[in-house]
């Protein structure tokens, strides 16, 4: 039966969420997804624009009007195909893409503040979840090309590159240093925002494309890039930006002070929220301070709350408008009762005689003229030093590229901050070596890392086809 909608409503279908009072003490997903009626109703709002600006807002160019039309027509299977032809991880992107600054930001329905843009992310999630329920079909794979590609790092960039290359028929091996594939998707982004079963399903899909996934394989230690080049025709580096930054203030080595990476890795990858059923512990503070204002800070704060901290405070040196986190996640955090101390900067972390953290001294800030990045530079307000008590502090002020690969690959060109230099196709200074994702751009987004993986896969395909003997290889197989 077709679901009818009379006129085009201006308001978007609301997506059900767990109530704040309930969700602040569990790790289950916060947003519950559309059911098919809500999805179809939302899809029916789309104007099917002739020149759809939304496509340009998407870093991988998903054919948004087309998959939305297919939802409206209740042809969900076709919607799956449309999405998957450009985006190999829609269940993930639908959940964590910053849609409000990408595809949805340019939707005509949202222009002029008249109505809500189409919930493109929500619809994308709906289609992907539908596919998962129905059972994922593995595309027919072409015959093997005989070319071998090594992918280093199983984050969104590496996984996308691997999937694209496997679909062409190249033999792909992924080397990942951790025991699980997914990169930030498994160690950083918490279960309540992105269930790990979804990442596992996507990874399983890539495995079933024939990709050989080797966990526990730290490149730079178990072998170098040069050694990989002996066994493989090309190498893709998607090692991410995983090196945590600290503030460089007094007290950062006190017990109870974590980098966000450590805190989130313990909680998410190692499932410390299920301790002692799972073996890895994490300190459940009574009062937790999280320093920073990005997605990583929001995730850390919301994890701390769910671990049972009575009071969780975000300390951020700029103002509300400057918070780099997704708007939706800031709202979620506020609804859950996270305290925001904006325009506040840490000076030092205080501890007791046993080296345990007891609090943080902060100073109020005010915004002055914009700096090079266009953001307002905060400066301390004199005589506003104050102490916020805490027994756990999480530093979430950013990360820089993991240096293990660059350190052991002397002829790879590295830019400031340790990023690998790559051109727009992903090619690096070293022949046969390509790179993409956070390792090239510094911390960015899931979808941009995927986009880079996809572009590089194309360039790698051209590169390995160009290598001598390719035609002969094809003739044999």
């Amino acid at each position: 039966m077709k679901i009818k909608t009379e006129s085009k409503p201006e308001k978007r279908s609301k997506m059900a969420k767990q109530s704040p009072s309930k969700r602040r003490s569990n790790f289950e997903e916060v947003a519950l997804g559309y059911n098919r009626y809500e999805a179809v109703a939302e899809a029916n709002r789309c104007l099917n624009c002739k020149k759809p600006p939304c496509i340009e807002g998407c870093p991988v160019g998903v054919d948004i009007p087309r998959f939305i039309r297919q939802i409206a027509e209740e042809d969900f299977d076709s919607a799956v195909l449309t999405l998957k032809s450009t985006n190999s991880l829609p269940a993930i992107c639908g959940r964590v893409c910053p849609q409000e600054t990408q595809c949805e930001a340019v939707c005509v329905l949202g222009k002029g503040g008249k109505g809500d843009p189409i919930a493109i992310g929500g619809l994308e999630r709906f289609v992907a979840d539908y596919e998962m329920e129905e059972g994922v079909t593995i595309p027919d794979l072409p015959s093997p090309t005989g070319r071998r590609v090594a992918v280093v790092g199983a984050g969104p960039a590496g996984l996308t590159a691997a999937a694209e290359l496997a679909k062409i028929g190249h033999s792909v091996t992924v080397f990942e240093s951790l025991h699980a594939a997914g990169g930030v998707l498994v160690y950083g982004i918490p279960e309540f925002r992105l269930p790990k079963s979804i990442v596992a399903a996507e990874v399983d899909f890539i495995r079933r494309l024939g990709v050989d996934m080797r966990m526990n394989s730290v490149i730079g230690k178990i072998g170098t890039v040069d050694e990989l080049l002996r066994d493989y025709d090309a190498v893709f580096l998607g090692t991410g930006a995983g090196l945590p930054s600290f503030l460089g203030i007094d007290g950062e080595n006190l017990n109870g002070v974590y980098s966000a990476n450590e805190f989130l890795t313990r909680v998410n990858l190692m499932k410390a929220y299920l301790f002692p059923e799972f073996d890895t512990p994490v300190k459940k503070g009574r009062r937790t301070i999280v320093v920073g204002g990005g997605n990583v800070a929001m995730d850390s704060a919301r994890c701390a709350l769910r671990l049972g901290a009575g009071e969780v405070t975000i300390v951020y040196r700029r103002g509300e408008d400057e918070l780099p986190a997704r708007a939706e996640e800031v709202l979620n955090a506020k609804e859950e009762g996270i305290i925001f101390r904006l325009l506040t900067n840490p000076i030092r972390i205080l501890g007791d005689g046993n080296n345990w953290v007891t609090g943080m001294e902060c100073v109020n800030m005010e915004l002055c003229e914009p700096d090079e990045s266009g953001r307002c530079r905060p400066v301390p307000v004199p005589d506003t030093e104050h102490i916020i008590p805490a027994d756990v502090v999480v530093i979430a002020i950013g990360t820089s590229p993991n240096p293990l690969v660059s350190m052991t690959t002397p002829d790879l060109e590295i830019a400031g901050y340790g990023t690998i230099v790559a051109d727009e196709t992903g090619a690096t200074s070293k022949p046969g070596v390509f790179a993409g994702g956070d390792i090239v751009t510094g911390s960015a987004t899931v979808i941009s890392a995927m986009g880079a993986g996809k572009v590089a896969a194309k360039a790698i395909d051209e590169y390995v086809r160009g290598l001598s003997g390719y035609e002969n290889l094809l003739n044999i197989t």
């Binding site: 951790l178 025991h179 394989s217 178990i222 080595n253 990476n261 450590e262 190692m270 073996d279 240096p403």
Partner: protein, 279 residues
């Protein structure tokens, strides 16, 4: 792909040797490096030093002391069992060069990691004076192996049941004061022992290296759990170490950070005991 345990042996009470099939790790391993393993899906990632490795057989040898949940569970496994994950070799290798005369000190379970270093230093043409110590004779292990890997070997026990009655530091002091030209000291053992060795060698200005054992999670420089203070600078032991200049290490910080999870460690053991009374 799981990693199979090929051999398991209790060397002395609560101290075990385990040979694990890990050909890729064995091929690349160097003295001073370690692995991080995880027993099963619920397991913690724990670091253990590569006490020996055989590239031809594709095995790595680990020596570990039963002290908590994970090491006790590991001890309950035997040949033919397997563990879910083993990543390595991690950390920087020991500097093995011809220094002249090197004193290698191993305390307790630290005898295991000092062994491949002593052997490597011998092969590099050094005179290797090894000093191994334990609380008591019945928990001293690898004396024979250490003898083979050293020019001279001294044994100490805290209770005098074997060798010198006292601490390894007594012998370090004696060797230096005997007029022996010591070019380098390497000490691996409990933090208190390493700090004491550093205290003995400092007045003589002898370059002293220790291998630090802070709490780790990933072992690849991603989390910062393993941060240690060396010469006033924060370092990540898993990638910058685990070996550091003993005279620069802040041992007090190391020890207090090692005690960070004591209540949770007890809770984990109690939980395990309640679940599986046999252990």
């Amino acid at each position: 792909m799981p990693f199979t345990i090929l051999k398991k042996q209790e060397l002395v009470p609560t101290l075990h040797r385990m040979d694990i099939a890990a050909p890729r790790v064995a091929e690349k391993a160097m003295p001073g490096q370690f692995v991080i393993l995880r027993i099963d899906e619920c397991g913690e990632r724990i670091p253990l030093t590569i006490a020996d490795f055989d590239a031809a057989d594709g095995t790595v040898t680990l020596i570990f002391q039963e002290i908590g949940k994970t090491t006790c569970q590991l001890a309950s496994l035997g040949a033919g069992d397997s563990i879910a994950d083993l990543a390595g070799p991690l950390g920087c290798a020991s500097t093995i060069e011809k220094f002249g005369t090197v004193v290698c000190v191993g305390g307790g379970v630290g005898i295991a990691p000092i062994f491949p270093i002593a052997r490597g230093l011998m092969e590099a043409g050094n005179k290797v004076i090894s000093i191994i110590g334990a609380r008591s004779a019945d928990i001293l292990f690898w004396e024979e192996r250490m003898k083979e890997a050293s020019s001279e070997l001294y044994v100490t026990t805290d209770d005098g049941t074997k060798g010198h009655h006292g601490f390894v530091t007594d012998i370090v002091q004696n060797v230096i004061e005997s007029g022996e030209q010591v070019d380098r000291v390497i000490a691996i053992g409990p933090p208190v022992m390493m700090r004491a060795v550093a205290g003995v060698t400092k007045p003589f200005g002898i370059k002293t290296v220790v291998s630090l054992n802070p709490i780790m999670v990933d072992g690849t420089g991603m989390c910062g759990a393993c941060r240690v203070l060396v010469g006033g600078v924060t370092k990540f032991a898993c990638v910058d170490g685990p070996e550091f200049d003993a005279h620069e290490v802040d041992f007090t910080l190391l020890m207090s950070r090692l005690a960070m999870y004591l209540p949770e460690e007890r809770e984990a053991l109690d939980y395990k005991a309640a679940e599986d009374p046999a252990v």
